[in-house]
């Protein structure tokens, strides 16, 4: 199966150390179990993109760019514009990222971020339609991972939301022969209807922690990403990783996500720093 990813390796001693520390309630980098690493967000960093943002989550660095174009709406949704999310795990970000078509990690990452944005209806796709069945805006969100130190989903969801908040739509005009073309001299901010954030909870030897760094991800059983919209509703979930969760752990993870979501959202909306 060509798309299977090559995972980084961790020494058995370090893995055991991380799990033993957690059993005592401590984390390898000194954080509390429900603490995120320092989060920094900077919007509008790429002039050639219609919207962009850079997110640093500890040493994990993710950039997201939005490009705007025109397209024919999908036949099953003639009254809606198009939103696509793509993720690139570029080789400069990790020794385990290799050039080539997106592997399963990249595809899963993009699809989980996509589900959070789509389900929460953060972007009103009907407003992106210009002529039903014929012309609509298409928004490309491209997630670019620049440094990989775990928890790519939360960082990418933040970067994508930041980039959408920074996005300006081009105007359009209809040519004499009835064609619709973009008018790049006119720009209007994209209105967002919601601000979904993703919270990833990892199960490391029975202990639940948020925002696992890479070594913690390599030591974990499995993780669950839960996206929460502005009203506190759940708008996407993905369990990922080879292990499992008990029912009680799943319920606890939902509670943790509910609790942490406003904190993350505040940071994107404020556009600055957060956490210790």
């Amino acid at each position: 199966m060509r798309w299977m990813a090559k995972e980084p390796v961790i020494s058995k001693m370090r893995k055991r150390h991380i799990r033993q520390l957690l059993a005592e309630g401590k984390r390898i980098d000194g954080r509390g179990k429900l603490d995120y690493r320092e989060i920094r967000i900077e919007k509008g960093i790429i002039d050639t993109a219609e919207g962009s943002a850079m997110v640093c989550l500890g040493k994990t660095e993710v950039m997201a760019g939005v490009k705007v174009g025109l397209n024919v709406p999908y036949p099953d949704t003639p009254n809606e514009g198009i939103l696509t999310v793509n993720a690139e795990l570029v080789p400069l970000a990790s020794p385990t990222f290799e050039p080539g078509p997106p592997d399963e990690r990249a595809i899963e990452l993009a699809r989980v971020v996509d589900r959070g944005i789509r389900s929460s209806r953060a972007v009103d796709l009907e407003k992106l339609c210009i002529i039903p069945g014929r012309k609509a805006y298409i928004l490309f969100i491209d997630i670019y991972v620049l440094n990989y130190d775990g928890n790519l989903v939360d960082a990418s969801a933040l970067a994508s939301l930041g980039a959408l908040m920074d996005t300006e739509l081009f105007g359009y005009r209809v040519t004499d022969d009835g064609n619709v073309v973009l008018d790049r001299s006119v720009r209007e901010p994209l209105e967002l209807e919601d601000y979904p954030v993703a919270i990833t909870v990892a199960n490391v030897g029975g202990e639940l922690i948020v925002d696992p760094c890479l070594d913690e991800e390599l030591s974990m059983d499995a993780k669950i990403t839960i996206s929460v919209d502005k009203d506190g509703n759940i708008c996407a979930i993905q369990k990922s990783g080879p292990g499992s969760f008990t029912v009680e752990q799943v319920m606890e993870a939902i509670d943790i996500a509910k609790e942490k979501a406003p904190e993350l959202r505040e940071i994107v909306l404020g556009g600055g720093h957060g956490q210790d």
């Binding site: 199966m1 798309w3 299977m4 099953d76 949704t77 997106p102 399963e104 595809i107 899963e108 993009a110 699809r111 589900r115 389900s119 929460s120 499995a222 669950i224 919209d229 506190g232 509703n233 759940i234 708008c235 996407a236 979930i237 993905q238 369990k239 990922s240 990783g241 080879p242 292990g243 499992s244 969760f245 008990t246 029912v247 799943v250 319920m251 939902i254 509670d255 509910k258």
Partner: protein, 248 residues
Amino acid sequence: MPGEKPVLIDDRGRRVDGRGPGDLRPLHVEVDVLANADGSAYVEQGNTKVLAAVYGPREIHPRHLGLPDRAVLRCRYHMAPFSVEHRKSPAPSRREIELSKVIREALEPALFLEQYPRTAIDVFVEVLQADGGTRCASITAASLALADAGIPMRDLVAACAAGKVDGVIVLDLNDVEDKYGEADVPLAMMPGLGRITLFQMDGVLTPQELVECVKLAMEGCRRIYMAQKEALRERFIRIKKEVEAGEE
């Protein structure tokens, strides 16, 4: 959304196919259906039809993919081009690649991969007819195929979705309910061990509704688990009869 939204729950509380909210679709489970595979299973859940085969533990190709301390579990979820209304290209889509990954990760907790270093266990799932719930039917079938291949397992993995359609929490969504409903929560578990191995959600639910969906999906998994065990039992009764007939 595509086209006109149909009425999903009628005034008598019945669903589009006549089921009540907590009903599974008719389930048919069969084990050992393919001669060449080391293990195989076939699952029909309503109009969804899924075939799974397991090969292995076997020598891994290419060799450099082998791991010194455990087997590599590989999984391919694939939809037949004729399994949906509009022909699907046989090339793996992004959806199929994601589902291949989550299905593999749903099965892995049940296996003792460390017992088979330097080998591969390959799981192939073909969706022959799709009417919603294909990833869950795939997991149900694949875990039976693994058991049929004689691979030691901690438990069978059973999978079922719950969700919300027209404001009602329902079990085992079909395609129409999935498309036009408010949310879909596919879940897989090892019912004997109480461990959840696949958990996804699409759509919007309040936290309380989500908890309700999880509980209902788990109930669905337990019913499917019974059918799985029954299918395995039938298979061994069949073998016993064949052996006895041979001895006479």
